[in-house]
């Protein structure tokens, strides 16, 4: 698909951009989720004490 294909750069750019955007979305969502979970756990532990 790649060697000698005049369009390879376009296909690679499209898939690369998609992977980057979905990767960022996934990473930022999971990081925010972990932060919110930690924060809530700390608040609830603080209330119990």
């Amino acid at each position: 698909m790649i060697l000698g294909d005049p369009y390879a750069v376009y296909v690679t750019a499209a898939y690369g951009a998609t992977a980057a955007i979905l990767g960022w979305l996934l990473w930022s969502s999971l990081a925010a989720s972990a932060r919110a979970r930690r924060e809530l756990d700390e608040m609830e532990r603080g209330r119990e004490r």
Partner: protein, 241 residues
Amino acid sequence: MSMWRYANPAEFMRLTERLLAPLWVAAGVVMGVGLAWALFGTPEDYKQGSTVKILFIHVPAAMLAINTYAVMAVASAIGIVRRHHVSFLVAKAAAPVGAAFTAIALVTGAVWGQPMWGTWWVWDARLTSVLVMFFFYLGYIALWETIDEPEKAADLSGVLCLVGVIFAFLSRYAVNFWSTLHQPASLSLAEGQRVDDVFRTPLYLMIVGFYLFFVAILLVRARTEIRLRRVRALRLHGAVA
């Protein structure tokens, strides 16, 4: 059993906790198989060459760009009418996801357009309405961020979302109303198939995979918003006490 019980944050968290793992697995498997099939199991198009492979990401992303906005609009309308906080939070959680899919549709469309149309961009009805919808996504996210009071932010951003529905509608149907450089919809129940059989199955797989990914990430983000709302409530309670 009423579906409205899932408007209760505790019920929503309980249900989604059980759904998340199977959703991630299904999304990974379906997208993996779809991607492998699309890249290595389909031929090059006789006219478009290998750029036809952009179809497998462009079409699912464009569908989700529009349908995520529909999800936001329905959730915002329910929130405004029935005052369910979870609805507003689902709409808020969906916005960055929809913006990301719209960005993918715009970028992959431009990258596909350059070799096939001879230009990265034209101001035709389809492309312009998708771009305006992208700005509505950004405006919606910005509005939530700039207003401190969550109730007020939910109401105002909900109204903004409903105003933007016209551009989501135009993004979908502009190609039917006007003559555009962008071709008509690739998949249409009303007008039959325009995609050859050899490309259709991997395309369907990628669409299903993208939708599973969308649902999984939407649930993760909605659960985050509910937790943050709870943290805020506890902080306020602590400040009062």
